[in-house]
Amino acid sequence: MQNEKLLEVRHLKKYFSTPRGQLHAVDDINFVIEKGKTLGVVGESGCGKSTLGRAVLRLQDPTSGEVIFQGEDILKYKAAKMKQLKKDMQLIFQDPFSSLNPRMTVSQAIAFPLIIQGVISQKDKAALDKRVNELMDLVGLAQRFVNSYPHELDGGRRQRIGIARALSLQPKFIVCDEPVSALDVSIQAQILNLMQDLQKEMGLTYMFITHDLSVVKHLSNDIMVMYLGMMVEYCSSDALFAKPLHPYTRALLSAIPVADPDCHMERVILRGEISSPIDPKPGCRFAGRCIYATEACVGEEIPLTEYEPGHFVACARINEIHS
């Protein structure tokens, strides 16, 4: 049971049609998450990480590829089976303000999934209350907030409601889309600890989407770095921080301001900004900003290769850079 694959994604693509061409939001993503583990998906805004999370849950149907959950390709599921599957796969949102219905109290928000999935009947008030109370305890929400509206609560508590709502159906897999980036640091740490505890207690599997490498560092087993819809690096968390290979990953790491005045990391300040994901030309999509870029980087697709065992990177000049 140790290495049981819970989710496998193969060649997942999600393109959007825009008036100016095909927007390659997610382009040929492959990964495996084992049961009880966490995959960190890291990238900057516009890299397609949120779209990836939603495509995996089929909130946005992928253009092509396979999403194999517990051995079955869920992209082939029909609507009724999909609804059943939502009990197993859940989503935690970034913005605890807009992800809660302002007209629903805490208890209504947490009970909502139980009712619509028919876990507990709407008429069985006692059972509903009991389950809501259990869930509130689980996420550390005081019972006195049971009838509060979201706008009366601060960001940390709202995010706890969001977590309770996602947990109410006892899912196996949760996509966490930047769950702490809207929160203050001290609250952020509380929520991260809570998510870690819940994972241990309930054996949850996470796909943790974030722009902040420091957040996923101690939380993830594996990390995938995305740039403009593509994977540029994929390896274990330890390997990534010990030896980041891709120039983008290294720039990303060095751009994080370290809270230590005497720690002056070697700074790689990137030129330019993320280019357009619409009809990208073949080749490395990072080449335009990369200090190592040569003609070798453009013209043909750069495959993800295993540079070291378990450490994948998509860079044409990786051998020269790391010699």
Binding site: L59, L91, Q94, D95, F112, P113
Partner: protein, 307 residues
């Protein structure tokens, strides 16, 4: 764990005054501060009470008062000036104007309310479907609404009444049809913005059906603009009812509808000012009150003003 409990208990003391209040109570608190709106609301409430009591009286007396005082003409005392016995005077058929105005409340207020509620219900459903599904459905529905909107409202009402014939129910229908597109548009716009919020996606991720999402998640969030619109539209509807009656297409004499009272009195406006002045004043005050309440509600319900 003990330190955590300690913190929580401290927090409990700190926040012990946390008020349980819903968004509606918040809105009411803000509304209360608007003195004009509160006065207008009180005025409307009194009208509603009057309207209800006249109906109760009619039922209790089996229309005895209605027949003898409101409808029955007394040609011996026409155009009586306002006096102690008849505060607002008598009309061209010797009927007490005050009583006729009070008895007319049911037509102006209740009929317009009925017409607008009907329009709002239909418009909300059309608007919600149009906004939620967008695409072709939206296009077809909204273009249909545009066709209705393209006709001048009064002309449309006149056309409908002319086709169906004058009368209470037909007036009601014509007004309701005229107001549907306005509601549909407002609800559609609100739905479009609510639809993009993350909690809708959350509901989808939890496996909620479209029906649940529209009725359970979206519609409660568009109630605020809906209520404001209902208030504003009622003012318009009262005017329309009065207007249709004035043109002789709406409620027919001798029913004491305010607009109909105006029509009949029009001929005598030079000789007896009071028979036109008071029904006209009532129409004016009621519409003014509805508009002020509508404005007040909009301010109270608009979350952007919330600090």
């Amino acid at each position: 764990m003990t330190s955590k409990e300690l913190v929580q208990s401290k927090e409990l003391v700190q926040n012990s005054e946390i008020m349980r209040r819903s968004l509606w109570m918040d809105a009411w608190r803000r509304f209360k501060k608007n003195k004009m709106a509160v006065c207008s609301l009180v005025f409307l409430m009194i009208l509603v009470l009057i309207g209800l009591s006249t109906i109760v009286i009619d039922i209790a007396t089996d229309n005895a008062i209605y027949d003898s005082l409101i409808i029955k003409q007394d040609l011996t005392d026409r155009f009586g000036e306002p006096s102690g016995a008849h505060i607002l005077g008598l009309d061209e058929f010797g009927r007490d104007i005050l009583l006729r105005i009070l008895w007319g409340t049911r037509y102006s207020l209740f009929m317009s309310a009925a017409a607008i509620v009907a329009a709002a219900m239909v418009g909300t459903i059309i608007g919600a479907i149009s906004g939620y599904y967008s695409g072709i459905v939206d296009n077809v529905i909204m273009r249909l609404m545009d066709v209705v909107l393209a006709l001048p409202y009064m002309l449309l009402a006149i056309a409908i009444v002319a086709a169906l014939g004058p009368g209470l129910v037909n007036v009601l229908i014509s007004i309701a049809i005229g107001y549907v597109p306005e509601f549909a548009r407002i609800i559609r716009a609100s739905v479009l913005s609510v639809r993009e919020r993350e909690f809708i996606e959350a509901a989808k991720a939890l496996g909620a059906s479209d029906r649940v999402i529209i009725f359970n998640q979206i519609l409660p969030n568009v109630l605020a603009p809906l209520i404001v619109q209902i208030t504003m539209a009622m003012a318009g509807a009262i005017l329309s009812i009065a207007g249709l009656s004035f043109l002789g297409l709406g409620i027919q004499p001798p029913l004491p509808e305010w607009g109909a009272m105006l029509t009949n009195a029009r001929a005598y406006i030079r000789d007896a000012w009071h028979i036109t002045a008071f029904p006209g004043l009532m129409i004016l005050l009621t519409i003014l009150a509805l508009n002020i309440v509508g404005d007040g509600l909009r301010d109270a319900l608009d979350p952007k003003l919330k600090n």
